[in-house]
Symmetry: C2
Subunit: 489 residues, 2 copies
């Protein structure tokens, strides 16, 4: 039965090219740890620019990327130089002036989790490829399920690479419930998702990726600041059904990415559940409020969901990416990847579950470990205090904004997201120019949102180093930039 | 315009809960680096079990997972104890006896890349979130495009979280070419993919995820060891078209996951190109042979592809996950995520590209950095020598197997994957039992494959520490286990 390739390949003696020289590791890790320590220390103190973004061509040259790739030969000394530039040309998420995107200021235990993964690479999608890693992930998932209100054997979940992929995975489960045969025979036409226009763009993308088409996302009626009006849902459902459409899922925000506002999950859940409508809660950013006793009421009703996503790389302070897909009924997740149901093993002679049958990704990184280490260090209470602290600091920013007649703000924040603008920068383009000017100045990094058809500056308080003093300095800097932008004409 | 939530949230003074205590970092990183150093040293020497997989419940208890999550309070000393158990209950990819799955034995520069990501979290899907990280990724992608034979401005690509997601992304581009309106209006029925049955399971999964259905994957005729018979393709295409089906793509293996055998890319490309058939090459595992002058002819014809995927977390020795999606025409990738084409910025006032418009994931980890650091350290020549060394070692294993009458083997290897079995363990269940026995013994970790309807042991030579001595010891151990399994009845 032996087939020979027509043209044998060159062979040779076994070599051990590529084993770790431990002295090389020692020197390189020493340089890296030292650079990163200084980076965090300096960032937390606000001592450097919060963000720098030279053009790619210029950066590629200053980092000598092409010659390193072709020639190799980097050693610890060269790494030291490389890191000096690399670390300065990016965004400092530990900086008090970092107020831009919903992206974690990573905590130190999680960073060590990344290093452990980098060395061990226990890609535990098969249990035999990383028993401890898989076990840690399951413990973290069980804890998240419990926080959502789904303790017990029926619920289940998995960690995946980010909220967008988590939404794809959850909606794949919803698709499988609505159309069990879709996995094998394709998606039927006339299938819709109901979601507020304020939902994350990954919801619409998921509809398109999954073959429904982005047009299948039907907008739910919302109030002027983008929150779902629950009482309006039944009418939308009836109208869709009258057109012969199947409503595959109803999506709610907890919280909305642009505004940080939470939908009324109780009311939405009470409408979906008796009608058998799949209720999906995108709690990517806001789910972590479950850990703060003073905030968890924002998520009341989340237990009525069929699926929830919740990112660790936002308020649970792991690096990007690590997002949980949580299902009230874990068989929905198993059915989502229907083809391989036969390969699912639990508590059999393999000794543990093969999680790859629950994810789009084939191999799995040790995502659970980094979240676990943050929890083990801080405890759920410590992480809850962090969340409450960031939400309170955002609220304080809103109070300061509201107290000043030169600023305006569209709503009181419910999370760590605050929208506001300065009256001197009239019109949307001036708000954008104001943001660009602030970023160029280097002390603050803000984002921007459209709310109610108007562009606002958006601050998202993520860095633990952002304090009262930062907020005052921010408003001064915004005021100065607004006057400069006004005077430019 | 200010809306107030009905029930104001508790607020308080700004806190700085969660800033890094640098002394805490110093102690914790010291423990982690020391443990990892010992782990790699011991693993490379083969001094410990290559894999251990106690049942999850037992492991969860010995790691005290529940109480750590609830109570917190871990410090450097406790981390030391935790890591002792954690690292011992997994799979040692640096161990010479690690011969199981196509999963990298990570190199040290890439591991440092993970640490840098863990601390800095420059989630560079928006250029402003990580200018250096995005620039590094683009340099790495350009280098890969050049290796494939697509140097120039027309080709493009992106790094994503793994080969499965890379296949989804590439096939999304193929879908967009065949049905530009599918993103908005959904996938039409009667669409098929042609692929050998030996393709990675993610191809069929991708068809199902993308709404085509797994039944849309039509098997290409293959030889007895699973390689596509190129001359048979036109007939399959005609038959599909006669049934009113649109052929969205033809998929080839480079190499096949179960056997490590390469399809004849030149012949397949020459059939696809003049017919306008999208040609997708899954080079997740085997693409790295492009770096070895003695091996790159295995991939001759890859330049005829429309899309290629190529994993760094296999033979380029980064941790899981890091996979490239490479497109001969980058507009195909931009069209794949059609909805957001307006948001794509290149060389405009943002200073760099926003890569999120090319991926399923929303935020992006610094995947390029870990691959770059391996390249910068070893150079493409050094990584090429590693690949050639692992391929040669696998070939040497095959020679040893072939020289022994008690073993049989279905084909001469073309890569670092070798299939074989011992004649004393007759029948598929005995081969599985033999594998289980080997794993329990602890010196070797093998996988297993179905080839030509029969189960074989499968060795994939990944660890640089696997040498001639390992191969002899392996065959002795397999022989012993086979006799034990035989005598069990």
């Amino acid at each position: 039965m032996a087939h020979r390739p027509e043209d044998p390949l060159p062979t040779g003696p076994a070599s051990t090219e590529g084993v770790w020289e431990l002295s090389e590791w020692d020197a390189a890790v020493d340089v890296t740890v030292r650079r990163l320590r200084a980076y965090v220390e300096d960032s937390q103190l606000g001592g450097s620019r919060v963000t720098s973004r030279r053009p790619p061509a210029e950066l590629a040259q200053s980092l000598s990327l092409q010659s390193w790739i072709r020639e190799g030969g980097m050693d610890a000394g060269a790494l030291d130089d490389f890191l000096e530039t690399y670390l300065s040309e990016g965004t400092r998420l530990h900086h008090p002036g970092y107020l831009a995107h919903q992206c974690a200021s990573p905590d130190l235990p999680a960073a060590l989790g990344d290093l452990i993964h980098g060395v061990t690479n226990n890609a535990m999608s098969l249990y035999e490829m990383g028993a401890a890693a898989a076990t840690v992930e399951m413990a973290v998932i069980d804890w998240m399920l419990d926080k959502v209100g789904w303790a017990g054997r029926t619920a289940g979940g998995v960690l995946v690479n980010g909220g967008s992929l988590a939404n794809v995975t959850a909606l794949l489960a919803a698709r499988a419930r609505a159309f069990p045969e879709a996995w094998n025979t394709g998606v039927p036409r006339r299938t819709v998702l109901l979601a507020p226009a304020s939902c994350h763009l990954s919801i619409t993308r998921a509809a398109a990726i999954l073959g429904l088409g982005s047009d299948a996302v039907v907008a739910l009626p919302c109030d002027p600041i983008g929150r779902v009006i629950p009482s309006a849902i039944p009418e939308v459902v009836v109208a869709q059904e009258r057109q012969g459409h199947t409503v595959m899922a109803v999506v709610a925000n907890a919280c909305a990415p642009a505004t940080g506002l939470y939908d009324d999950l109780v009311s939405i859940g009470r409408i979906c559940n008796p009608r058998g409508l799949w209720f999906h809660v995108d709690a990517a950013h806001g789910g972590s409020a479950l850990l703060a006793p003073t905030l968890k009421r924002l998520l009341t009703g989340i237990e009525l969901a069929d699926s929830v996503i919740w990112d660790a790389h936002k308020m649970l302070r792991t690096s990007t990416l690590a997002a949980a897909v949580l299902l009230k009924d874990k068989t929905d997740l198993d059915r989502a990847f229907r083809q391989e149901a036969d390969y699912l093993f639990f508590d059999d002679d393999r000794g543990g579950p093969d999680l790859m049958m629950r994810t789009v990704e084939g191999a799995k990184a040790q995502l659970g470990l980094k979240l676990f280490l943050n929890l083990a260090w801080r405890g759920e209470a410590g992480l809850g205090r962090y969340v409450a602290g960031r939400y309170a600091t955002a609220h304080r920013l809103w109070e300061l904004v509201r107290s000043r007649p030169d600023f305006e703000t569209p709503f009181e924040p419910q999370s760590n997201v605050v929208c506001f603008r300065h009256r001197d920068a009239q019109g949307d383009p001036k708000q954008v120019a104001l943001r660009d000017r602030l970023i160029a100045d280097g002390r603050f990094h803000l984002a921007s949102s459209m709310v109610g058809g108007t562009r606002w500056l958006r601050a998202t308080v993520m860095a633990p180093a952002t304090d009262e003093q930062t907020l005052h300095a921010l408003l001064e800097a915004v005021g100065l930039a607004a006057r400069q932008v006004r005077d430019e004409d």
